[in-house]
Amino acid sequence: MIEELIIWAIIGIVSGAFFGLIPGAGPFIAVALLYPLLASTSALNIMMYYVAVLITANYTNSVTAILYGIPGDATAISTAREGHRLYRKGFGSLAVSSNAISSSIGVIFALVVFITVLPNILQVFKFYNSIVQTVVIFSAITMITFLTKQNKLITLILFSLGGVLARVGIDPITFDSFATFGNPYLSLGIPFASIMIGLYIVPELAKVHNLTITKTRRINTFAVGKDTMTATLLGSFIGFWCGLIPGVTNILGSYASANIVKRFFRKPVLKSIAAAEAANNSGALSSLLPLLILAIPITGSEVLVYYLMLENGFVFTAENTINKLHSIIYIIPFITVICLILSWYGFNLLARVAYFYKTYRTIVNLLILTTISTVSIMTFPIHIWMLVCILCLSVLGYTLRHLDTSPAIYGFFLSDLFYESLIRAIVIIS
């Protein structure tokens, strides 16, 4: 059992390291690519893999941020701004060490809070009624809409598109059909995998394809920045609580921490990187709590993990989390140590991998897309329907490649949850 867990942790580290380096990929594609393999393993292994990916990707997404000023994902924006500036001035080694050390402290901080809070988390469940759930999901939808950088109307339209696509098919409770037009294929609904591929992976890979990258200088010294501990702990604390907010999670945490440090600390450049990275990693772990305790995935990659674990027979409750997943906690410190070494002393190696990807991105992207699509088609019982959905949605996704299409994914998942909770809340209040 433990050997299997360690193997999944290692696969997660390798996968997280690589997909963290690809801007826009991150944990979502790391999980999507191994979907069929993960579907055949236990819920414990799935969560082990995901935690390893989540932690590692949050270290390596700062590599392109520091070297090129291109954040691996939205959580590395602060590091991209300040870290790349330091790198150009010849102080790249300080940004690298700050990323490595503060990220590790962020993980350990979250782990300690996790262990302290978990035994009493059962009480949260008693207060989590349909009205609270409706408010939480509504907040998530509002956050997704208003914190986006793109036009809010477009975000709302994309969210609604996801919601409409989710409703196509037959209702599991009432057996009423929606937009099936008497077509037996449409009565199956739009498979989630096709939404994920067409409306998220295709536009994201299309965006990365257009980036221009040049070769960078090596980092030959391994300096340590001073006086970053307070900023790191502050970032860890802020990041942990922001991680619990659906829709924004560690993105808000890293952004808010970096800005607070810049506003209130002296000599804030390095400290803001430390705070942002600590918040990023601390928030990434705390964002797992709503999924594990309340069965509410609040990030795109969590949606995938949620489906995978459900299909595996896992029931998301506090008891199951404590009883069946606790062994992951003991592996996390080891993952953290490996990531610390990898992102600090292995920085130049990661930089070479990033450059390799940039050079061969067309082939790599096509390989990613083909693998995910083939596996999705083969695992869905009606192959032709999955193929049709992937093709149609990929065309749509490519057309929308200049937009942030993630609201469509949130819409697909959250709108049904919101609708069901809202109906109950209305009955309860009335």
Binding site: F127, N129, S130, G169, F175, L310, P381, I382, E420
Partner: protein, 254 residues
């Protein structure tokens, strides 16, 4: 001879451990899932969470399927169901039902009042509650959930003060110390119980027989009796079991 026995043993082991596809046509928190997960822990399997019988039926073209199929479904002309007979019926489970409340102490106590009731929103349940409401002069307002698991969660979280669910959930519901369970189908208070078939589809007789033996062992274990207290499990494709299922199908027919 030794080689032959070894080969036969390998062949048997391969047949016996052929991977079964478990297809859950119920919700992700309901009792069907709990039954299938419990069986799944003892066999090599892949788990498919289909969420509803319509989607679940699309998986029935494959081989070696194990599923739980409600007697509510074959009588519904809007959906297709696999044939359930003596060849593929692994076991039958009957789920007794109950009404529990933290506000009322009996059905007569509810008379003349509007009662908000947590339960799942399927048509047979709605029909039964309307009849029960008319008999006892109760105006039931359903707070709808997707399965017995989420119904229990919702009740404990305070979404409604009364719950109609299966007796399998009795222990979880009684975690709320203010709750009293006031009416039971097995005591004749409620004329409604669920009859579900655990059945194989497109599986050869060896696999079906192996699953019967697995369920026979499981259903006498303490874990099973605790997890599904309030249910009865009848193993095998006997004439009596098939008749019981078919009778329930007729009762639930639209």
């Amino acid at each position: 001879m030794k080689t032959l026995i070894t080969l036969a043993a390998i062949l048997f082991a391969t047949t016996a451990s052929a991977e079964v596809k478990i297809v859950n046509a119920g919700s992700d928190t309901g009792a069907f899932r709990q039954v299938l997960t419990t069986i799944g822990e003892t066999i090599d399997h892949t788990f498919i969470q289909a969420n509803n019988p319509v989607t679940a039926y699309t998986y029935m073209q494959g081989d070696d399927i194990l599923t739980v199929w409600s007697s509510e479904w074959p009588g519904n002309n809007d959906m297709q169901s696999p044939t359930i007979d003596a060849t593929n019926l692994v076991a039958l489970m009957t789920y007794e039902t109950m009404i529990c409340s933290r506000t009322f102490t009996s059905l007569s106590d509810m008379s003349g009042k509007q009662v908000k009731l947590a339960t799942w929103g399927s048509e047979p349940v709605a029909k039964f509650l309307t009849t029960l409401g008319t008999t006892h002069n109760i105006d039931f307002v359903v707070v709808p959930f997707g399965g017995s698991g989420s119904t229990t969660k919702g009740y404990i979280a305070g979404d409604a003060d009364t719950v109609f669910t299966i007796t399998t959930r009795l222990t979880a519901i009684q975690e709320d110390s203010a709750t009293a369970c006031i009416a039971f189908s097995d005591e004749g208070d409620l004329g409604f119980r669920f009859v579900d078939a655990i059945a194989t589809v497109n599986a050869d007789a060896t696999i079906t027989e192996q699953l019967r033996s697995t369920v026979a062992t499981l259903s006498t274990s303490t874990e099973w009796l605790d997890a599904f207290s309030g249910t009865s499990t009848y193993v095998g494709g006997t004439e009596a079991n098939v008749s019981m299922f078919n009778e329930a199908v007729v009762n639930f027919s639209k």
